[in-house]
């Protein structure tokens, strides 16, 4: 068993601020959208909290972006250029989560400093961080002050179109965050991945060890 430093401090800070922030965004988003059905807080409080948390998350996004732009750790996000290789590895990973994990098979992905994501994660996180999250921020800013950004809103087809895109991504994040938290329990112990995101250290399998990060 060996401990390697995989998650530097800025990444860990970004991750947890993001995690708490997205939960707040989802909860306040539900309150805003379903006012009258759900009564966790007032509509106005929910809107204000949603707006401020949104801006915090946008700032937080730039912590992530700047860190990776100026660090060699960005290799973790480099895509696998061979589609065959990528999809074969993704299928192996899917097979592990769908079947192998139940049998106690070893995780096919081996974490290293520059390869911390398994093939499925690397694909999802690239799309998410480069497309889904920025689109959500952009639509969120437009909805924050529709009048100020009316030119952009109209160009996109109107406030309802912008809102629909925003809500579709919110719907995606609702299931994503639940499943992401669950997958976090699938390390060699249920708390292993959570600890990693606090300490930055990942326990990896050695020749004699049996522990497997997901």
């Amino acid at each position: 068993m060996e401990r390697i430093y995989v998650h530097p401090l800025p990444v860990r800070l970004w991750h947890w601020v993001n995690a708490v922030g997205f939960v707040v965004m989802i909860v306040t988003g539900i309150q805003i959208r379903y006012v009258g059905l759900i009564d966790m807080m007032s509509f106005r409080t929910a809107v204000n909290l949603h707006n401020w948390t949104g801006f915090l998350l946008i700032g937080n996004f730039f912590i992530w972006l700047l860190f990776y732009l100026f660090s060699d750790k960005i290799k973790a996000y480099h895509p696998e250029l061979s589609p065959t290789k990528h999809f074969r590895a993704s299928f192996r990973q899917l097979q592990y989560y769908g079947y192998g994990i139940f049998r106690g098979d070893p995780n096919p992905h081996h974490v290293s400093v520059y390869r911390k994501f398994n093939p499925m994660q690397s694909m999802l996180y690239q799309v998410m961080m480069m497309l889904i999250v920025p689109v959500q921020f952009y639509t969120g800013i437009l909805l924050w002050d529709v009048k100020r950004f009316s030119g952009a809103v109209d160009m996109l087809g109107g406030v309802r179109v912008v809102d629909t895109v925003h809500v579709l991504i919110f719907i995606f994040f609702t299931s994503y965050i639940l499943i992401h938290a669950y997958l976090g329990t699938l390390g060699h112990t249920p708390t292993a991945h959570f600890k990693e995101m606090f300490t930055g250290y990942v326990e990896v399998e050695t020749e004699h060890g049996r522990k497997q990060p997901h």
Partner: protein, 467 residues
Amino acid sequence: MATSRGAGTVTRATFKTDFVIAAVVGFLVLFPGTWARAADKPLSEADKTCLACHSLERLEKKLANKETLSLHVQGDAFAKSVHGVIGCAGCHADVNIKSHPAKTKKITDVREYSIASTEVCRGCHADKFKQYEGSIHASLVRDGNPAAPVCTDCHGPHAVSPKAVYETMAAVPCKTCHVAIFNAYAGSMHGKARSKPGESAAPLCSECHSAHEVAVASAGEGRKGACLGCHAGALGAHQKWLPNAELHFDVVSCPVCHAPTAQRRVDLRLYDSVAQKQVSELKGVPQFESRARSADVQGKGLDAMALWNLLKAFNREGMEGKTTLRGRMEVRTGAEAHQLADKTKAISDCNICHREGADAFQSVTVSIAGPDGRPVRYGANKEVLNSVISVDSVGGFYAIGATRIKLLDILFLLSLFSGIAVPVGHLTAKWAFRRYLNGAQAAKASESATDRGRPLPGDRPGGHGSK
């Protein structure tokens, strides 16, 4: 309504009229004190001559259409009126006392005579008349609406009062026709304030609608400009507590919140995105209603698909995307728009409008600006605000919570369900597998133990080791 004189038709009579008017106006300009003394000035001998006959109450003229035109003038009222100073000849300069009553003067009907007489008013009050010509009142007169007012309907023909008299609750002429609206106004905070003795800061009709250039109140942004004219700090005050305050100011008319007892509706207006203005119906070529009727196949009001088809009809080949729909929340009637309450009673609870099933979204109309500026409306089903089809057709109107798309709600529930079901299902599968594997392992161990107890022929002593 004849509102302009034909060029080159200056007759002796009109010349005489113009001369008298010019002389009177010149006199009043040179000696402004005359206005103030007008009420006190006794009638001239010439006026008394006229009144010798016209003060008779039964003096009237039978017209060609069998109507009766009263020729009675109350002498006292005329003497006290602002026009007393110019005398009868000031307006009736065409009357020649020697040949009066003129046998050749033909008046077809009372209305036509009233409309024709406005030319006399224009002679002195050209600026006010020009404003009136641009008003909805004049537009309705031109369209032949018999109820639309001309000068004398508001000012009275022979008892024109000073401006200050019309600016009182008791004598404001608007209430003659707009009874329900005036009653609503009288009960509003504006009306109550105006009724207080010595209080003139609160607006009366003309302060918001103007006296002569009366516009269609339900067109464009309504009377928002008039509200903000007095309440200049309103936007800043709203921005302190209302998210997207400017958007609310654009989309929600002031009475929607400030007349809390009023019934509300959403008006989806056809909007020309190229010209950046509301689409107007062309005079003589009405298209909106016929298109709306043909889109509304069942005749129960436009549903989402019918609305989409209607929009498509306005965006034919070569004009794709030109016409869009812009929503505005407003109160249903003009009377309700005047039931303005004290600001402490105004709606400030977001939940009232943003919750599902909010009253404001139960009534929906689609409209186009009519030729005279007044909206031409067609009813739509309230579901148009919640349909997924509306993402395209009603892209320009959305109220968080209240007009949310049902399909997205279903997707959200599916997402929430899968977010819970995937972990639960995975955990269950994991548990079931472990149980199965443990069972299989135990069975294998038991089988091994049994086998050890009853060695089969050929078995070696010690058997298989455990895994």
